[in-house]
Every structure is written in C-alpha cells, then in structure tokens.
Symmetry: C2
Subunit: 207 residues, 2 copies
Amino acid sequence: MKRIAESTVRRLSLYLRFLEDFEQRGLETISSDELARRGGTTSAQVRKDLSFFGSFGKRGLGYSVPELSRQIREIMGLGREWRVAIVGAGKIGAALAQYHGFAQRGFQIVAVYDRSADKIGRPWDGQTIRDIRELDRDAARERIDIAVLTVPADAAQATLDRIVKAGIKAVLNFAPVQLQAPADVSVKTVNMAMELESLSFALTNRD
Amino acid sequence: MKRIAESTVRRLSLYLRFLEDFEQRGLETISSDELARRGGTTSAQVRKDLSFFGSFGKRGLGYSVPELSRQIREIMGLGREWRVAIVGAGKIGAALAQYHGFAQRGFQIVAVYDRSADKIGRPWDGQTIRDIRELDRDAARERIDIAVLTVPADAAQATLDRIVKAGIKAVLNFAPVQLQAPADVSVKTVNMAMELESLSFALTNRD
DNA sequence: AGTAACTTGTGAACGAATTCACAAGCGCTC
DNA sequence: GAGCGCTTGTGAATTCGTTCACAAGTTACT
C-alpha cells in the first residue's frame, strides 16, 4: 500500500467521530462538504483522504453514513479490541484509566505496572498493580498490543526499552521527552508542555 | 515577521528541553548535529529552524548552550509568567494541576472553574473552585492568559464560547472534539483518542 | 428521455516544508 | 599566516501535502 500521511490518518479519526455523531442522529448520507465543514478542512481534502483507501461515495449523493463509518473503522483497525497496558501508576495513568473514550473505542486496559514497591500489589481501578519487571513475561501471555507510558520523564527511555524488549509494538507516551525506538515500534507522544509552549509562542508573536 | 510553521515551533520547544538538560550538565557548546540526533531530525533542519529567528551559532564551533537556551526562551515567550485558568475540575484537570512541568515553565495556575453546583466552592489543589459564570468577570481582573479546557466533549464548544467571550486568547483543549474559534484565538487540542487510533492504524497497516 | 442540480474521484497545479550542498567563518597547529 | 578540520547559514533542489478544476456519475423533475 502507498504510504499514508500521518495527517491523513488523524483526519480520518476526526471524520469517524462526526460520522458516529451523524449515525446516532439517524442520518443516512453525508457529503464531503459537510464533513469538511465540521472538520475545519476542505471538501477536496476529505475526498483525497478517502481516495487513498478506495471509493466509498456515490456521485451526486455523497457518502452513506453507516457504510463510511464501517469503512473508516476497518481502515483504522478499530473493528477489534486492543489490549492495553498502562505503565506507570501515577496521577496521569489514573486519569487515563478512567477516561471513557478509551474503552468506547475498543481499547481495553488489561494490566497496570509500576516500579515502586509500595504501589505494587495495590488495587487500582479494578486491577492489581504489577511489578514492571513482570512485563516481559506478561506481554505475550496477556497479548498486550499497546503500552501507555506514564512514568516520569527521567525514567521514560529506560521503561520504553523494557516495553520494546517485551515485544510490544505500539506505545503512547505521555512523558515530555523525545524517545528513541526501533523502526518497527510505533511511538506516539502526547506532549502537553509542547502544546503550552506553542500557545506561549502564539501569544508572544501575534501580528 | 515571516510566518513560522507550527512544526518549527514544536521543534524549538524540543530543542529547548535538550539545551536545558545540557545546561544542567554544565556543557558549554552544542552542534546542530547533536541537537538533531536527540530530536530525531537532521542538522540542516535544526539550522533552518533557528535561521528564521537569527544566527545564534559560531561556524566551526556550534552554539553556546546558555546563549541558545536564552534565545529560544525569548522567541517562545517563556521569559515571563503565564497566568492559566483550568476550566473543568474533573479527573484530567486534577492530573494536570499536579503536573510539575507546568509551573516549571512559568505556567501558573491562578483559577479553577466548574459548572456543577456541588463542586463550586470546594477546595482544590490550593484553590477554591469557582463558578464558570464568573469567568467573564474574572478574566481581566485576574489577567488570565491561557485557559485549559478539561470539560466533557459535549460541553466543550459552549465552554469555549464563554472563554472567548471573556477575552482569553489562548486555549489548550483536552476534549476530543474539533472546536471552532475566531482567528485571533489560538486553540491547541491534545487528543489522546486520536493518538490511540493512529497507533491502531499503524498496527493494522504495517508492511 | 432530456435536462438541471449535485457530488464524487482524481490528475495537474500549486505551495509548504525538508533536505542537499557548499561557500564562508572560526579555532587550532605548525 | 597558511593549512586543516570542523560547523554554521542559506540559496537551490527536492519531496511532500493541499488545493484546483473538471469529467463523469447520480438523482429528481418535467
């Protein structure tokens, strides 16, 4: 398959959200123009994004809402359950575990790990906190697909190395550091510090 | 000033983090190549990024670590305190308030707002939760620069409208929705759902 | 059946961001 | 002070992503 731009993938995720909204309201069809309006983009962009994966629309009519939802879910691999481990049982980890949209999309939290002795063994959102050193053993047995990394910045790279060693191929990182991983491991970083600093820049350098 | 790409701003923020690291370790100079290695980019990229704002390096030598730190901080507007209000006193808001890197960079939380009657008036991380309806009145008096939006998705747009009306020009949004705001208001969205879905896509469509 | 009103899908044109490549500057050594 | 090794700063080339523009398909109406 041709290489797909990151920006395209992110927009698909966005479109899907609107489609689900439309679906719930019982609407049958939607045009690229309507999707574009909601997503803050252009209709040509919407059509181009979709065209990488096939032709899902009907000329003159638009897209069938349930059909396009289904297709995007399929493209994005959201037709299945993903098994997620949270690594780092701190405040952010806790907030994430409670985050509803998580389970809603089929991301099921199946294990929680920490390093500190006084956390290990404690109950935590329906789970028991496990020793990070068990990750290597657990990963295959528990069929962990994705690790959510919520450890302090200074431990992030070392913990990522553990995750990689355990054979996990996808990581969502919340530590405000740039991580190094092999090419076959996907790492996405959510860096609020960076976003805040972008705002600071925007406020400082306005025309 | 020439328009600066968002990606450039984000990288500057990244470079700054490495520089501070180097600074603490007492290193005097750094090359674009070293910065690039850490940031997962190329030396040409680093130099180009910096060149939009001036020439800070010395040929043959590299960049002075403290000097470049200072320059980037200045460019990014990080030489001052930014006054931040958290809007939405839920789990995510709480996790953020505790987030250390926040204050560290000069982002000071000066007020917390919520809508629900049983939260208003309660103590919260050294603050008292205020009624969201007071935001309009407070914004100028408290000199609020940035609002962090951590309300549920379905209330996000309406709350943003309040924030805009209160005259706040920068918003960090954690609700997983696309928001509409006037052009003179900067909105950055941190959307974990989208990142997770990108991972799902990556896992599904690997070569 | 013909026409009008829409909307998709997609090459081509455009624009933006990244990478290349190299002249020019700096410090060190002999 | 000439030569060498290193590194910056930046136009030019290239790559990548977005927008344009239009042929072709669909429905609705007369």
